[in-house]
Subunit: 206 residues, 4 copies
């Protein structure tokens, strides 16, 4: 019965995340010309699509790992999950605005704010799951002090105001946080070991 509840929670989240990751590509509008130079204005749109694809992909992958540890689904987990999906659903809009305007200040600020909200919502979902399963649960032990999670939040909060003075640095931080989660561990060897190990309930959060 609870497994069922979890199954649908996963299926619904998979559906929403799959749609989010795919409709972002609709922002790359088919150009009218047929020369390479007609594709050139699409480059920033394409790059912001790549960045957001990586982010949504990491979220899906980590959501997948985290839900793995869930034994029973509570109402609070349901709400926290919908809350996360809400902020993720704003990524296509933020990506489109940033990409079409070649990474100018305010769209990049908004993009950072949506990333920050997503990270916060992920953190709340993590809290809700730990709350339901106790401090000795797999997730609670895997998360530990959650240094990577806090570091991401701090980096986003640094990057958002940096857009006003050094926009390229801010953008670099967005990329850095993505990479930080993409390469799941600092020590490369352990990282590669992780890559080839069947995944357990370890914690990952962008």
């Amino acid at each position: 019965m609870n497994a069922m509840g979890k199954g649908r929670l996963e299926a619904f989240s998979d559906g929403v995340i799959a749609i989010i990751i795919t409709i972002m590509v609709l922002e790359i509008k088919v150009p009218h010309g047929t020369q390479w130079r007609d594709l050139l204005p699409l480059l920033p749109v394409f790059l912001s699509y790549v960045l957001s694809f990586v982010y949504v992909g990491i979220y899906w992958s980590n959501h997948h790992h985290m839900l793995h540890t869930v034994q029973h689904v509570t109402g609070r987990i349901l709400l926290a999950n919908l809350h996360l999906l809400f902020w993720l659903s704003l990524l296509p809009f933020a990506t489109g605005w940033m990409g079409e305007n070649h990474f100018v200040v305010l769209p990049s600020v908004l993009y950072g704010m949506v990333l920050l909200a997503c990270a916060g919502a992920y953190w709340m979902l993590q809290k809700a799951i730990i709350h339901a399963h106790g401090p000795d649960s797999t997730l609670a032990r895997a998360v530990g002090k959650d240094r990577k999670g806090w570091l991401s939040l701090i980096l986003y909060m640094l990057a958002i105001p940096l857009n006003f003075s050094w926009p390229r640095v801010a953008l670099g931080i967005y990329v850095l946080v993505a990479l930080m989660w993409f390469i799941p561990d600092r020590r490369i060897e352990r990282s590669f070991a992780w890559l080839d190990k069947p995944h357990s309930g370890e914690k990952d959060q962008p």
Copy 2:
């Protein structure tokens, strides 16, 4: 065999609801300017998106709880479910029309009518499930007199004509009904207890 049927019913409903909740975000069109004031005209579109996201989220969550209690899927349940999905599928249109026109009278009336039709279709699906499982079924007992369901229907019917004289009150009622289902119980403690309890087949309907 029946569990299978239920599985596909849930999967298909999850798919349709996931798409409905996500395509609504496509109504928030990327603006051409790059100033905060260029986002301002999007505020009503955004707010109506939030309201509809909450509504669709509640419907998904309650649909999830209600389907939990289903033991076997009949043809009548299939049809009633498709009927509910039909009305939910009109929410993106009604949301877009209301949001782009800053909550003026007729679009808000239509929005209320779609909400009313969704609530009615949900009620019919509930009837179909109870009809198939008997008056002693989990759902029948959980629904009881269905005060919250009837109250929602009455509130929608009140709000729709109120749009002509006090549009803000009507809009407030739409928000109120959403909140009424969002906070699943009046008594906060019981509500929070529910939030942390593995969900059973209790009845919830927006």
Copy 3:
């Protein structure tokens, strides 16, 4: 292993059908005015949406019943299923063209041709499943002489040319075929009994 294959076949079909049924609603473009008369031009678009929603809903429901009887998935079944999804995926286009042009001749002819192609593809999928499971399989016995299937094909073939002389009659036939499958049996009592019976692997095809 085969159950797995069937599970993914169903999941993929559910996904595609869920998207087809939902993107059709995107053809109902949000109008610029805020009066009832601004909705009036949308009426034929809305009616063709309703008709196509019913058709896709029936296809999903019958696909669901038919796949129920599948014991093992062969390559031919996979291809026949993709072929059916291809024709179903053209319904949103045909619906939009017919609806936006108020049911004039040629768009209605095309709509009928897509319906005919869908029915033909469904028939081929049915053949592929029976071929894989033998003449004594549940599906083969349930289909029998497949009178309803052949009747639909003949009615579509009648309706398509009728568009040139009596377009309303042709449209009426499209509605009639939908109703014929919607009300699953001629004898009302038996029909209602079916509605309340857990569904078995009986055959249904629009």
Copy 4:
């Protein structure tokens, strides 16, 4: 636990592929006129839709076969799968650009490059799965020397520059590779036997 992980991997991939295959149809824009000649300019868009539908369908079907052989999901498999989905997600854009411009040189070159990237990503996913399951795994034995996979890569690399001198030949090669995977074996009899056999974990890659 691992089966679960695989289940979500399949569900997410199914969702993304289902959306990719369906949003391509949105490129076939509803024409304003109501004559057959108004459909004529849509013919190349339609043909490129058919080609891409077949490609995505083959990818889904082969992905389905390949995932069948997976016993446990590693981080590397997750990443390789997301990488494949990324390139597949660019097919609707490449299809639209090629179709709207009646198969002129550069859009056809880009289309070929996206096909090449998809085939490369598929090959990397295959490598990741074999790496996780060892050289004696079902997949490793089924793939063998992977002649068909290498032949496809070589044909794409031939076709891309051919667009500049003999665009029709290049297009013909794209169609040929699709057919080569569509008809799963050279010897027709064996091919038809395969069509009617429950599928095992045999290797297929476009």
